[in-house]
Subunit: 206 residues, 2 copies
DNA sequence: TAGATTGTTAATCGATTAACAATC
DNA sequence: TAGATTGTTAATCGATTAACAATC
């Protein structure tokens, strides 16, 4: 089935499957099944099988899935069978923590460029990376060929930052600023707003 | 309409609407419309009107919505017209950044208890909060009457941490550990895994 | 073989959208 | 009034699930 026909909501579940598979692998499981994955993740086995069927046939009737194989297939499908270099804009408390956090590089996304527009911060070094002025984003990002960026600026600066990133050739943005940004149709944006998650849960509390 | 009939996906969009309204308010807008909000957020105006209709009638035909009023209504509906105290478990790089991050308290969620199971960290003070041993979670959380917690431990410790939190009476968990946790049906869980977002976008890159 | 699980189809379920009467 | 926008209905669209033949 052609790539363009896969619903984005299905693509969004693949990383969850991959995460579970990597964990199973690290725990020594060689084989799993849609039922076991469903149990672990709290979703239906039918959904897992249907999601995977968009991309091929990875299982064996009566047996299930080979953990290492399916894991590798998902990494290939998601294009995470390589290391991606990522630009990070905004080195406040949050940005600093993201720059230091080991969980990205460990899973294939290495933050390799830091930008900020505060003259006090420019030139500082974090994790061997020197903070550069935001105005240089277009040229530096393009020179390094980066395609992915994170925005950790205040909300006020997010749209302007996104414009600079797009100008530099960025095609995927993880936005930590609590504001919607607008970008060309061929640029992907994902949002992380922990407070929105907390508010959503507060609805169900007394 | 009874609370239980509101789809969770609708509840999940209310914080996004609220965020946009607060921003409009701060920019001096007194009135807005479903069309303007739709434009800002990149969703349809019909969806915004339909979502709001689950909770009442907040607009005026021909005019739109009074920003401050709708904002206050959404805060009331979401139960964020108060300050929630939040427990944070796991004070590594990520947890430390969360504890310091001003964006929570500013929007009604104050981190007020810190826990870790590393003897080196116990007793340390961050933002006037003393890190306490994880084993004391049940009693301390219950004594303070907290209902919301964040998990920022390694994946290995997340399930055990969730168990302790539930034992202490926690009813909503924001889980930063990259692993699914299982909790009783009346406990809500939201996940934040930035790498999953990056992987999802990588699918669309060459 | 008998038992188990996949991949897939068709049915069901739920969410989104278009359209418009009501009305400010 | 004329123009604009809401709240709501019905239709459309899309996602999830149940069920089972195929087959390991």
């Amino acid at each position: 089935m052609a790539r363009s026909e896969v619903p984005d909501i299905v693509v969004g579940r693949l990383p969850i499957y991959l995460r579970a598979l990597i964990r199973l692998h690290s725990e020594g499981h060689e084989i799993t099944s849609s039922h076991e994955l469903a149990q672990i993740l709290g979703i239906s086995s039918a959904q897992i099988r249907k999601d995977l069927s968009y991309f091929g046939e990875f299982g064996k009737q009566g047996t299930g899935y080979h953990v290492a194989t399916l894991s590798a297939e998902l990494q290939r499908i998601l294009h995470v069978d390589r290391e991606w270099q990522v630009a990070l804009v905004g080195v406040g408390d949050l940005g600093r923590a993201l720059a230091r956090y080991g969980g990205f590089a460990h899973r294939g996304f290495r933050i390799s460029l830091l930008f900020d527009n505060d003259p006090e911060k420019i030139g500082q070094v974090i994790n061997d990376m020197t903070i550069m002025p935001a105005e240089q984003i277009p040229q530096v990002v393009r020179a390094h060929g980066l395609k992915i960026a994170m925005i950790a600026t205040p909300a006020d600066a997010a749209q302007e930052t996104a414009n600079l990133l797009v100008e530099g050739g960025i095609r995927a943005i993880l936005n930590y600023a609590p504001i919607a940004i607008s970008v060309p149709k061929d640029v992907h944006v994902q949002y992380i707003d922990p407070v929105a998650h907390l508010q959503r849960m507060a609805y169900y509390l007394d």
